[in-house]
Symmetry: D3
Subunit: 314 residues, 6 copies
């Protein structure tokens, strides 16, 4: 893998193509505008300031544009920052495309789809299996490219599918250890629980919430979708209600956005599996930026805790 | 109106047809079974104990059966109780039917339906109007007979429709005083917000929760129904999303079962209107049993408060 | 109505008399002082920065001074801001007075007083009526000019009276719909509930909290006033206690500053009416600055929610 | 001291005059009424059951009546209980009066009044001193006999005065250790903080809440009284506001019934002193009934904790 | 397996040896004492009432005694209850011992110890390995027989070891799926986290809390033990601190009894693993007593929820 | 006492040796770095900005360095600030040492140690006395110089010992007023409760948390130490458990970091004494900077309240 912007040490100089993740205008205390740019490549993102910007700069350096930057890495308030010496827009002949700069899941779309197909194939209950297959087919395309969230965890291209696939592996292990669990329900729950995010979120890049996302939310969106799928497929058993329950209770508590707490065993376990995979992802990303003997940045979604990396961990 | 069981004073004797609302078996400390009966007529309900019951009694005096009771009203722990002297099942020739004994809304089904039809008629936005009319038509029959809840407020025959009609009146007043409110949205919200209860609850008498009610809940059930109505009617505007938002946010807070807090003005106001009408109903029913200068029983759904009836109130 | 500072679009130039609502000194990172001015006229207020200020500027541009400003409206972090080109103090001959620049209630003081007098006139209970009239007379003057709060809702000249008059209208409607309500109590509660604010707050302009306001609060201040009024009028019935209860419980919950929760029906309803009118005012003001299809700023006093204005709302 | 009902061991027989603290009717499962009596003398109270009671018994054995009881102490669910063999009403010639049976403070009324007078005498600020002296004089009589509460702590004759005197001692010690404290304020706060209880509670025996107590509460009652005292005495300094603040903030938090949190140092310390004395009283009373190596009953007002008495404590 | 008390249906007669788990005396409303017995064998426990008991009965039928009971299973308030016809104490010649009647873990002590030894053997970090082995050896005997709790989950003989072994399996799976986890730490955390329970609890049968358990708790007890183990073994690396952190943070939140929240990744995961295994155990036991299409009893330790068993589950 | 940096008024010029408490780098909006210095002497600390700093400045002006500063006191956002005109490092011949500039407890180490020795000497229970003396001796040196915290209260040299000595005085008074208290336990609890801070914190100057402090915390550290002390001294009575309980419960509630709530009377009182002394210290320090008739800064550790200093307080 090429050396990315996060692999440089303080004091080193960089000359890289980077993607503008976001650009926020500020007014400096001398009255002149400046831009706070978040620049990213596959290795992650870094903050940079561009001082004394012109009207043209403001229009040029916007979210999703690609730039070439010459600059230095320096240290500021416990984080690396990029000091820009020179910046310009990508030109036509520059050998870089947006997908070269986006962080993506470590598994290919094909591999992930295979794993999901396999899990659906393993199901014995035809009602559960048919609803799951129907919805996966209907939303396969966005499912394979959307992130799982705008921040906090799995916030990268194909993050949603990757989150689901990791959860599936975990679900398989747990179902093996506790054979009283209904594997069909658990797999279906894992595959469908966050699928509504393909309507809640705007897309794979510079992701924001849609109006529907803000007003209805991925949980209720998906409950609607299961209802419609069952209608189209002519399914009307208790499985339909239970599947909807799994989706709508997967946040675990009312105050976390589930209109009902889990009252099906597999719904309770689904919530735990979701939680473990999300938290592992947050922790791994935070600890990857931390040296042994030091603390991570505070992680907002984990009670704002700062985790310690033991010195005996490499 | 005939003198009902709640109109008798302590020390008076009664001889009435009553409906068994619930019957719970207990084992007395002498090892013999007894029944705690909740008996009701249009005036309300009263507790009675039946001691030393036989197997036959247990099978005879069950929920929804009608009985003829001779007994005395006495006072026990601040409440009236019925001391049964004689009890027997309704016989074929007895001049009483279940509807003679059920508490029902003070307005007729026709009057209530007229008021709702009128509100729908007043709507200007065709998308909102058509969805509301479609769903009201689809569920008109149970809507007009179901209670609004199993306890707490409007827990009587046609309580759901009566709650909606009272809220509509309130919505009209408020929309007049604050003309910035979108009347169409507000009326539709009022009419649809609790309509899912016709699937969440079991029916107008001895009402319990259905499995679907416990696993999905009336809020999500109704969001599903709006989605399907829009599909059938070929409606796809933002009104669809906003209407669903009104229904799913009408409990006001996540911890009260709404998966989203209101973020539409009319959704916020809908929550207030729902709250006022429910609380007025609870308070009026509790205070109706209380004399001036005394306190009501504790009202569980109002922070367990006991309200005082001033001596200058008659 | 003249075109106010809030009616200008981004890019337009203004030349207006404005009132300095507040002026806060900052030190720019070049070590030089600057002022953050909040400037207002009847249309609302806008932020402006004045760079490199002299000692004289600091003394000149203070709260409640009037200035003439030449400048441009530009957009900054989702809000309009004023870029000052030229600023000077109001001079003697300038055709502007402070009341030309203050936001005031949309009803005249006379109209509002008439409505309150009418409500008092309608009361039947002489004890309630006499206490209410006595206190209204005693504090009529500040009551008609004070705001209802320093921020959040009705924070303009005569905001307190306007809030009370709106609540009175709402109380009338509700008392009509629910005839079991004691209108006398409800009206008296509406009129007196916030009257203590004329001692809690400093006055109609650049309003702050008094020491008495911070240490005792408008609720306890008013309970004291009712006690003294009753003593002066020789009233000693239960109405006195109930009126005090209405005032002291009107925040609804202990954690919101009421030393007792409502346990009188009208006290409970008073709390709801207060809440609806305050929230409608917040929402209307926030949505007035928002375009259809967009979200309001976060409203701190409403759980920090950002409300959406549907595209089908004009 | 005579051997009281609490000094008897399990298995011993008693023959004592006792005061009926409360009598609650129950219906046994054989349909016959019984009474649960709480019987007390100076040593404390004990529960007793009277089975198969007649109408006459119900009217005879009511709160505040004196009875002579022959019975046995036995052990039931971790508490001593009294098994009644014979019970009769006190007759005219019986050598017992109600005050022989009531638990009272361990100090005489004179001693307590002397300590309070002394503290008032020590005050230097005339405004604080005059208000305190005026109110103490006005309510001296009930102050010296009322309990401090209906349950939880100092729930005995003269409990209110005893609580205040204990707090005064504590306040003196603390003011000596932290000389920055204003002794005048602290003493006045201690003396006045609960004085409103003489209007909140019904009296020294079988104490209940008055209507005024439930609707207004001792905190607001006392704030009113301070206001009126100042008016009568012609006092209008900031001391008036600060004294009222001490009283109204002495519960420490809004959710505990104070409409304002303390923002005067002495108000904060007053809350701590009140808390320590109340909790010491609860703990001492609970531990007095507990043997070393055992646990007290759960103490509801202390988070329902059960305290352990170490074996090395006698 | 022999047919146990829980395998009988309503209406069937039993004649079984049973262990008295607990016996609580009550006084019936006719004044006569009765006993509520919880009787158990390997299949689980059932409630029974013994009426009109003599002093001898009270002394005979106490916790941990073995009885022979003839009786009928009947249904009472949604649970099976045992109606005793005849009961007598176990006599010398009766062919039954206490271990025949105790519910025990489904794995033998040897098997469980082997799995733990294997996990210790797999550890690479010598400090972690030595501390874990030392403590396991020191407390192996009680560890293999104690329950994991007095109620809620794994409350049977060898429940503690079984809980640890199940968690170890889960830890292995998770460490395989998320290879960034430090297996040594995770295994050691699993093995040690609840080991303090051998001092917090009284023993394997009729388990209660010790004084040390109530005053110090198993978490702090174990932190002490790790400290002492390290001292004896001469270990002083950061592993010591981190191991103690894993134990003391394993309840996840301060309000759940951990004096520190987890800030080591493996500590966070340990908390999840503990939670999943405890909840699976609760759910499996509750659902084992529930028929498809019905709800379990409310489970106190899971927010008092009642879980539904779908009809499509056998 | 010499005139310290906090004794100068706005407008005055200073020329003082000061200690750099902390130095934080910022980037000004012109892109140039600056330092925010907190400078202190015995009188307290003040903020100062140093603009346009060089690399050398950054390395020179770091925490714990001593500087000589010429500057002016000015007022900024309600606080005094120091405007630096000239600054240089302390040179060898400058007549100033670090202890001349550090705020320290108002009592000498000898006086404080004497008071503690005296309290230990007064103890009657040999187990409690020996454990306390042993630990005090072991950690006497850091105990006498460490602060009690990094911020909030007693955050100065010897703050820990001073906090303990003040608490001891308070404990003596309270034990005299409530003679049922076990003085030995209470004194030992006071002396030991925070002793773990000598391992939780880094030292007396520029104090931070150690890794052990963050992962284990002073409470669990001290429980370990008591365990080890008892082992070394061969003590094994219940006193050992109770002493550990006092230390581990002294934060009063689980959510404040105590793994057990107090269930020993002296543990409960210890928590109150700790609280009073900490809050008095916070309040006295905040009010010392506040003029009569004004409010303190918000005090974060006291619910973010701002306290009022009455005008009748000098």
């Amino acid at each position: 893998m090429k050396k990315g912007v996060l692999h440089f040490e303080v004091g080193e100089q960089i000359d890289l193509y980077l993607l503008v993740k976001s650009a926020t205008k500020g007014i400096a205390s001398n009255g002149k505008p400046f831009l706070t740019l978040i620049l990213q490549d596959k290795s992650g993102d870094i903050e940079a300031k561009l001082w004394d910007v012109s009207q043209g700069d403001e229009e040029r350096y916007i979210a999703q544009s690609i730039v070439r930057v010459l600059g230095d890495i320096h240290h500021y308030r416990g984080k690396n920052q990029l000091k820009i010496r020179k910046i310009r827009e990508k030109e036509a002949h520059d050998p870089v495309t947006i997908s070269d700069l986006l962080e993506t899941a470590p598994l290919s779309e094909e591999t992930m789809m295979d794993k999901i197909t396999e899990a659906i194939f393993e199901m014995n209950n035809p009602n559960i299996q048919r609803i799951t297959r129907h919805l996966m087919k209907k939303y396969q395309e966005p499912f394979l490219t959307y992130p799982a969230a705008t921040k906090n965890h799995h916030e990268f291209v194909s993050g949603l599918a990757y989150h689901v696939v990791s959860m599936l592996e975990l679900a398989k292990s747990i179902a093996t250890l506790y054979p009283s669990l209904d594997k069909d329900l658990l797999y279906a729950g894992v595959i469908l629980h966050d699928l509504g995010k393909v309507m809640e979120l705007s897309g794979p890049i510079s992701t924001t919430y849609t109006i529907k996302g803000n007003l209805i939310g991925h949980i209720s969106i998906m409950v609607n979708e299961i209802e419609k799928a069952a209608e189209e497929l002519g399914i009307d058993g208790e499985e339909l209600i239970v599947l909807q329950h799994l989706v709508l209770s997967h946040h675990g508590k009312l105050e976390w956005g589930s209109p009902k707490q889990p009252i099906i065993k597999e719904a309770e376990i689904l919530h735990y599996i979701d939680n473990i995979d999300a938290k592992m992802n947050m922790l791994d990303r935070a600890l990857a930026r931390t040296k042994p003997g030091e603390y991570t940045e505070r992680i907002f979604a984990m009670d704002n805790r700062s985790f310690y990396k033991p010195t005996f961990h490499k």
